[in-house]
């Protein structure tokens, strides 16, 4: 499998976009790729936040070259031999080729303006950021590591929820991650949960909503049930900003909405304020 091995070596290389130009879906402004990347993929005209992958997110919030990845060798089998129009391994392979990742979360330890922090960053590019046993296990291990080493913890979510291809094995990852958080939070360490577009389903209904501080990116879609299902169930129109970060802030489920451009600064400020003597 030389082709795969070669891709594996390039694991950290950012996937190259197709064209040179990107249109902002919000204000329709055209951007040169490089210009967009330099601006942290935030539209300079309207502030729209484009999706970024886990590597870009880690680069964005951590101090240069301090990120040390943990448990990078975990991958899922196909425990239920799940097959719809494609098999589960086929879907995993497609996601691997797209992202260079073995599953939908990257975990490790890094410095954020000098504060050593345990970090888990989900990647929407891998099967829609869905949570199966690998995501659950890596996040749980990171929480346990933070508990043991008395580190603050940041989890960045971007996920469609529990992964159907692992059915109840996925569902139970919700309980597993929350169990680890129960121990971690009892020890009075700070857990900051960052919700990015989109964060839904079983991910929202587990660790994502348990942050001591919960931050969302502007415009991010955050919810439990899908808007389409809700609309069908209640047979009425939903508010225009339904399940947006702004909607959640208004209803009391977020502490802050922070622009990507200010995220590192805000995280650093909070980590220092909550730093234990």
């Amino acid at each position: 499998m030389p082709l795969f091995k070669k891709r594996l070596i390039k694991l950290s290389k950012r996937s190259v976009p197709d064209g040179l130009w990107t249109k902002c879906p919000e204000c329709k402004e055209m951007f040169y790729k490089k210009e967009l990347d330099d601006g942290l993929k935030v539209c300079s005209k309207c502030g729209y936040h484009f999706l970024i992958n886990s590597k870009e997110r880690i680069e964005l919030i951590t101090d240069s070259a301090t990120f040390e990845e943990h448990n990078a060798d975990l991958y899922s089998g196909d425990p239920l031999q799940f097959k719809d129009s494609k098999t589960y391994p086929e879907r995993q392979k497609a996601s691997f080729l797209k992202t260079g990742l073995l599953d939908a979360v990257v975990t490790g330890v890094a410095q954020i303006n000098g504060v050593k922090t345990a970090l888990a960053v989900m990647d929407f590019g891998f099967m829609g950021g869905s949570m199966g046993a690998v995501v659950g296990e890596k996040i749980t291990r990171m929480i346990e590591h933070a508990t043991e080493k008395k580190l603050p913890l940041i989890i960045v979510s971007s996920s469609g929820g529990a992964r159907m291809q692992e059915s109840t094995l996925s569902l139970m990852q919700m309980a597993k991650t929350c169990a680890a958080l129960e121990r971690y939070q009892k020890q009075n360490h700070l857990f900051i949960s960052i919700l990015t577009h989109p964060t839904t389903g079983g991910t929202t209904a587990s660790f994502a909503m348990l942050g001591d501080i919960i931050i969302a990116e502007p415009g991010a879609m955050i919810g439990f049930a899908g808007a389409r299902v809700i609309k069908q169930t209640i047979a009425q129109d939903l508010p225009k900003d339904f399940q947006s970060a702004e909607f959640l802030l208004e209803h009391g489920f977020l502490d802050l909405i922070v622009s990507r451009l200010d995220l590192k600064k805000k995280l650093s400020l909070l980590l220092h304020l909550f730093e234990k003597k």
């Binding site: 975990l74 719809d84 691997f96 692992e166 109840t168 094995l169 309980a175 049930a225 299902v229």
Partner: protein
């Protein structure tokens, strides 16, 4: 009496038996031998059909409108039940009920999803789909049980947490997440039983405990077969395929080490003999409480943690199912190691 499609041959045979009985009462014809043969045939047919139910057929039995619900079991197994209402913040959710009762002489707290017996009651009970206030009431009752060292029973029977506008506004996800975390630390014995439908996060929201059981014809799944077929098969009618793929039967969950045991149901389902069903469940619960009672609270909580900590299957290092080689992180270990029971770090 609702008759499921696959039960029709049984019902037809039973109707024949009834007709024959009438004939024998009227005339002087002796049909006793024929009657015996037919009865024997009916029993065989039941064993054949109910003994080889497909996952989708089990889902239909789990949803059967005649099936016993939480309040039926409470009535049949417990005394002095007093329902306690409200989450103290917003409302009383009648899709997720709870209260104190006496079980085999001992005070217990019992919580469970409750479906309606008819359409009118189902509107009130939301077809067993709880809102955030249901989960918050459940947590309030769990903490009350903890303070008074009462064992806690949780009966799961929901198609899922309610997908509604109000549910989202009031934080459905937050309510479930908080329960998952807090149940892990509740200092009293918790026994969970899936009595009917185990619909995803809405089920798990009262599903963390020391022993987890499923009734033989119940199901537990990350998504309904309808939802799964709509998303993955792009066809809402592929429910049988989805039900097969989701591995949602009690047997599947036992095989995947996600539940402790399966509780047998009377032939054809709990509703065919509710009393027998209740006695079987009661005996299982009593035994479970006795076993768990032997553990110190400290040990109980540790084992509860380890139970969920072990859930999930993954590999560390080796070749992925799609042929990518990933070296193991630590040296000197096997190339490929299946990890089903990793031990907690701390």
């Amino acid at each position: 009496m609702t008759i499921l499609e696959f039960e029709k041959p049984i019902v037809e045979l039973e109707q024949k038996i009834e007709e024959l009985k009438k004939v024998s009462l009227k005339g002087n014809v002796d049909v006793s031998e024929e009657l015996e043969t037919l009865k024997e045939k009916a029993l065989q047919l039941k064993k054949e059909i109910y003994g080889a139910l497909t996952p989708w057929q089990k889902v239909q039995i789990a949803r059967h409108p005649d099936r016993p619900y939480t309040l039926d079991y409470i009535k049949m197994m417990m005394e002095d039940f007093t329902e306690l209402h409200g989450d103290r913040y917003f409302a009383d959710d009648q899709a997720l009920i709870g209260g104190v009762a006496r079980f085999m002489g001992e005070p217990v707290m019992v919580i469970g999803h409750q479906k309606g017996l008819d359409t009118k009651e189902n509107l009130k009970r939301n077809f067993g789909c709880a809102n955030p206030e249901g989960y918050r009431k459940a947590l309030r009752l769990m903490k009350l049980a903890e303070r008074f060292e009462m064992p806690l029973f949780c009966f799961i029977d929901t198609p899922g947490a309610y997908p509604g506008l109000g549910a989202e506004e009031r934080g459905q996800a937050e309510a479930i997440a908080v329960n998952l975390r807090e149940m892990m630390g509740i200092k009293t014995r918790i026994v969970v039983v899936v009595i009917g439908e185990g619909g995803s996060g809405g089920a798990l929201g009262i599903g963390v405990g020391d022993q987890i059981f499923m009734l033989e014809n119940s199901y537990y799944s990350v998504i309904s077969p309808e939802g799964c077929s709509a998303i993955l098969w792009k066809d809402p009618k592929k429910t049988q395929d989805a039900a097969n793929a989701l591995r949602l039967t009690a047997e599947d969950l036992k095989k995947n080490n996600l539940i402790d045991d399966i509780i047998a149901e009377p032939l054809g389902g709990g509703h065919k003999n509710m009393e027998l069903m209740a006695i079987t469940l009661r005996d299982n619960l009593a035994e479970s409480l006795e076993q768990l009672g032997k553990l110190s609270i400290d040990k109980l909580l540790k084992e509860r943690y380890n139970k969920f900590r072990k859930m999930g299957v993954f590999f560390e290092g080796g070749i992925t199912p799609y042929g990518v080689e990933k070296p193991k992180e630590e040296p000197n270990s096997e190339d490929k190691k299946k990890v089903n029971n990793p031990l907690p770090v701390s």
